[in-house]
Amino acid sequence: MSDAEPIVRVVGVHKYFTRGAERVDVLQDLTVDVADGEFLALMGPSGSGKTTLLNLIAGLDTPSAGEVWVGSELISQMSETGLARWRTRSVGFIFQFYHLLPVLSAYENIELPLLLLPLSAADRKKQVMTALELVGLTDRMSHRPGQLSGGQQQRVGIARAIVTDPTLIVADEPTGDLDAKSADEILKLLDELQRGLQKTIIMVTHDPHAAERAQRTLHLEKGNLVEQTARKLERA
């Protein structure tokens, strides 16, 4: 465990879904802390509840029991609207399939979350340009997703995730749909975000290589934390 103050605290969380009359317990009495500025990998077999846990931490879903704290906010108690507002400012999302809007340019896709914040046009532009620069796509900003490679699309996805300068970035198999080379570039980029900008990153992955990038790996099995790979020594 990190010695820094945890930014994410999952306390005794239970999550079950009901399918008809049947109740499916996905997460059982799960407790985990994520330190501020940590890069955490979540691994585990398919169906073990990785996405479910990520959704709870990112405020996309609420636990059946237990508490989820992010910073000083108890997000497991927030209303739907409250969560939506909180997500815009506090969480950046990176998806396996990028989820860019096909009709919008890279620039416009990155700008989307900013439309929900009270920013001037000039500030909006500045933030989008900064994010574009960070992912190295300034020269492609007017391209639409269809005109970009998978790796480039994922970089747009990352720029969109960081454009509001959130404290927390969650990524669900961000390299799952990419070839090894592009995957490596994306992982490097995440690494830079964590080191350079002190972002807290929680990444779900099936790829042990990808997990190696993280400082700590959590293994989930049938909704239980079975193993925590010890935090690796700081890389130079």
Partner: protein, 424 residues
Amino acid sequence: MLSLLGTLAKFAVIIVKNVRRNLLRTTFTSLGTMTLVLVVTLVWSVLSFIDDQTSEKANDLKVLITEKNKSPSRLPYAYVSSLKEGAARAPDDVRPVDYMTWVFYGGMLDPTKPSRENFIFLIGGEPEKIPTMMEELDQLGPADRARLDRAVQRMKEQRNACVIGPEQLKTMNKKVGERIKVSGLIFKGIDLEFEIIDTFPDAAKRYAQTSVMNIEYLLAALEEYKVTNKKPHPEGDAPVAFVVLRVKNRAELERLTAQIGDSPLYTAPAVRCESQGSAISSFLEAYKDIFWGMRWLLGPAVLFTLSLVIANAISISVRERRMEIALLKVLGFRPGHVMGLVLGEALLIGTLSGVFSAGGAYLLINKLAGGIPFPIAWFQRFFIPDQALWWGLAVGAGTAFVGCIFPALSARSVRVADVFSKIA
């Protein structure tokens, strides 16, 4: 404030881009919308004209005096001199502010060839009453009005002068300045020769097929017939179709009706006296089922279909974009934002198509086609009123709004967690 406007503009950009993404579907939807708005516009044009005709205008009340219980109505010309005073006897009796006598004269240019080109129908009246007592002519622009006034002056000075509607003139293949000989059909044996001195201005759209003459010309011919044949013309003792009086207000209208009803002057034949609106209403009684159907069945059915067309297109869009909607929600877009995007898309298609359709119909039908040919009662054609442009806007926007309620609600209820599920 400025940043809010900027944000709205960005939302508008997204909406426009969404509308353009499936051009084929958007095109079909707007073609469908345009067709249906066109139908509604045509139906409402006819209805609004009929409503206008049958409604009483508070400050322009007209009274129609016809023969009681007979159709077609025939009144002796001798009635006119007292009727135009409203049958007033006492000094404080109500007197009409204006009047006009109507006779109908119709006939053939060539009696051996009974065809449409050969037929002409003229309304005879006091020429100086034409601009004020015939519907809508008082609304002509100054240039057209001056032209009509010159024609009226000439008709007063020259009894056989007539003004013919531009379309009627074309049908007969005649020109202004030519003379025509008409053998009477309504008044058999009364053959009249006219000089065509002008046409009705194009702005007087209702009069495209209408022609007017000086009533004196017909009356003089009937007199001459009597002298020549040593007996009156069979229609000669009652040549007048009706007399129209204008009164100041409802109260005067009622007093005037009572005055005429109580008068001993009109016994053989007796007269009926009613407001023009109710006179037209009773004429139109025979068609009331058609109008009712247009108003309450056809119109609503078309509006309903229109909502369905839009609802269908928008719900396909929403279904196709569930993932995108879920993504927007993940980013923090609230249900209201999502509904706004869906609503905006529907409104954009509906409003533009509606305005375009109504505006196009207005231009094409009024300016190029010369009205909707819909002969019902004595109306030949209908025109699209100016307010149809608003109808297009309102119908387009209204049906788009109704049509997108369900798709918008379904967009609103898309679950955010869907983006992470495996179905992507």
